[in-house]
């Protein structure tokens, strides 16, 4: 177990999240992908903190709080959209031209 390994794992998680973000078209699934990205960031913070020291963990605490707030807002928006469209597929939610 080295820093390189941990960072590769974090990078992998992040890129999987990016892939989901780009390809999934259900709002909830997009939220899940976002969670993966945030989690990857936290893992990277913690890995650096363990192997190199420094202020990684305290950053994770703040990142967690931010994530939680984002999830709350995100889900509320998803529900709102669902009420409007009876569906959460983003492609159908496309009144805007362009």
């Amino acid at each position: 177990m080295t820093l390189t390994h941990c960072l590769l794992l974090a990078s992998f998680l992040f890129c999987v999240g990016v892939y989901g973000l780009l390809t999934r078209r259900q709002a909830v699934a997009v939220l899940l992908s976002l969670e993966l990205m945030m989690n990857a960031a936290n893992l990277a913070f913690a890995s650096f903190a363990h192997f190199k020291g420094g202020p990684g963990q305290v950053f994770v605490i703040f990142a967690l709080a931010i994530t939680v707030a984002e999830v709350a807002i995100g889900l509320a928006l998803v529900m709102l959209l669902y009420r409007r469209y009876d569906d959460t597929a983003l492609d159908r939610a496309s009144e805007a031209k362009g």
């Binding site: 960072l7 999240g17 913070f45 950053f59 931010i66 984002e70 928006l77 709102l80 939610a93």
Partner: protein
């Protein structure tokens, strides 16, 4: 109390107003315009106080610095906030008379986030302030959800979700990038990056920049802009289109010129490419638009390109002129959206045909719109001219001749679509002839914007000097 609390007087005041408004509504729900006017007046008081509160200093550990830079931004954001509140009063009072307080409270939270952001010199504070600024915006974007004409609430919810997803994704990018940067440098201080040529630091910083790029709506992170502008309630779009962008640019300036200037050879090409691409894409995509708000969305992308160009000059003068540009853009764009809102309010929809014959119906509104459009286009004797001019000059001085020529050429293309809007206003005949009904608050907001745009056009010197003082806080020397 600690010795540094007075540095946050204005921010605390803004938060206090937000809480006051919330409590007022909780215990004595007030319909009508009382809440809005109170908020606006109290914010006005805070704005006035900013000229008397003379707190300059640094918080222990250097996480927050209040200097001329912060003072300038505080005033800019407060002005945008006051105008944003003023512009919303009539709309809220008629559309959602029972649900007004939350709107103002959220707006004020966002405002507090921006004001703190300008002084943050620590990654953790920077990120949390950024989120405090963004989070309420997602909600406000969907605020008009249950009201208005048939197609509007759907658009508002969709706009909110689009803004949220791009915003959250950019936060994810920023955080991951910061993980790498903070890990490599071992400090959360923004200035701690120094000259650190390790690939991981550079990749991390590029991630961070991409995250901020989303927020300011620069190409290629601009795709949310037109959709959101079209969908969200117009008085809010007015605020959204200026204040967060100004805050995002301020952050970019802090990070790039304040923290990472040692490795400018890495990010400068990226920044310049983004600036050029924003100018090109924004101006060209605005051409075929028929919805005024989408048109202004792309125009906003183009304007960000000009601002980034001045930032790319990497000098005190360039930064000062970025600030000047942003400040004029704030007043101009607020004004444009307010006029559009006034013109479209009675029947919904913002296609260019809606404002046909506006100058016949309400000559003052039409004239104001013309002035704002000319300012966006950069025509002499309105503020936007000096803004563009200064930006191009500083970029020229920094040797970015090619981009300046490109920018000048594109500015002319920009003129075409701004004139198209002016043509609808002045030459086309609309189906109505009665004056546009506008509330007092909205008229006041438009008037204030107008005074600033024309006043700065005739006498730009005070703002130039203020911007220069502010820029000295980030970039020392000439």
């Amino acid at each position: 109390m600690s010795a540094w609390l007075h540095l946050f007087t204005l921010e605390l005041a803004v938060v206090a107003i937000a809480l006051l408004v919330l409590l007022w509504d909780a215990f004595a729900p007030a319909a009508g315009r009382a809440v809005g006017w109170t908020t606006a007046l109290l914010l006005g008081g805070v704005f006035a106080a900013s000229f008397f509160v003379d707190g300059r200093g640094t918080v222990p550990h250097g996480v927050f610095v209040r200097d001329e830079w912060v003072v300038f931004h505080e005033r800019l954001f407060l002005a945008a906030g006051i105008l944003g509140v003023l512009g919303s009063i009539d709309w809220l009072a008629t559309r959602t008379p029972k649900r007004q307080a939350e709107y103002y409270a959220l707006l004020l939270f966002s405002l507090a986030g921006m004001m703190l952001l300008a002084g943050a010199r620590d990654w953790i504070l920077l990120v949390t302030c950024f989120e405090l600024m963004s989070m309420p915006l997602y909600v406000l974007c969907a605020y008009g959800k249950q009201d208005g004409p048939a197609s509007e609430p759907k658009l508002a919810a969709e706009a909110g979700l689009k803004l949220f997803i791009t915003g959250a994704a950019s936060s994810g990018l920023t955080l991951f990038g910061l993980a790498l940067v903070v890990g490599m440098t071992g400090t959360t201080h923004v200035g701690g990056i120094g000259a650190n040529p390790a690939p991981l630091t550079i990749v991390g910083m590029l991630f961070v920049l991409a995250g901020f790029g989303f927020k300011v709506g620069a190409v290629p992170f601009h795709m949310w802009v037109p959709d959101t502008y079209q969908g969200a309630p117009t008085p809010f779009v007015a605020f959204l289109s200026v204040a967060p962008k100004a805050a995002g640019l301020a952050t970019l300036a802090i990070v790039l010129l304040g923290g990472w200037s040692a490795d400018s050879s890495v990010w400068l090409p990226v920044l310049l490419v983004l600036a050029g691409a924003s100018m090109v894409v924004g101006n060209l995509f605005a051409l075929p638009q028929t919805d005024a708000r989408r048109l202004l969305g792309f125009s906003g992308v183009a304007q960000i390109g000009y601002a980034l160009l001045a930032l790319g000059a990497m000098s005190r003068g360039g930064l000062a002129m970025t600030l000047f540009f942003v400040a004029t853009y704030v007043f101009t764009n607020l004004g444009v959206f307010f006029v559009l809102h006034a013109a479209a309010e009675e029947g919904g929809g913002h296609s260019l045909a809606r404002i046909a014959g506006l100058s016949r119906r309400s000559p003052w509104l039409g004239g104001a719109l013309l002035v704002f459009l000319l300012s966006l286009a950069g025509i002499p004797f309105v503020a936007g001219f000096w803004a563009k001019l200064f930006v191009f000059m500083e970029a020229w001085n920094a040797g970015l001749v090619g981009l300046v020529v490109l920018g000048v050429a594109l500015a002319v293309i920009g003129l075409y679509y701004y004139l198209t809007v002016a043509r609808s206003t002045y030459m086309a005949d609309g189906d109505r002839t009665t004056p546009v009904p506008t509330g007092f608050a909205l008229r006041a907001a438009i008037l204030v914007c107008l005074i600033f745009v024309v006043g700065l056009g005739l006498w730009p010197r005070p703002l130039v000097e203020a911007a220069d003082r502010a820029a000295a806080g980030i970039v020392s020397g000439r």
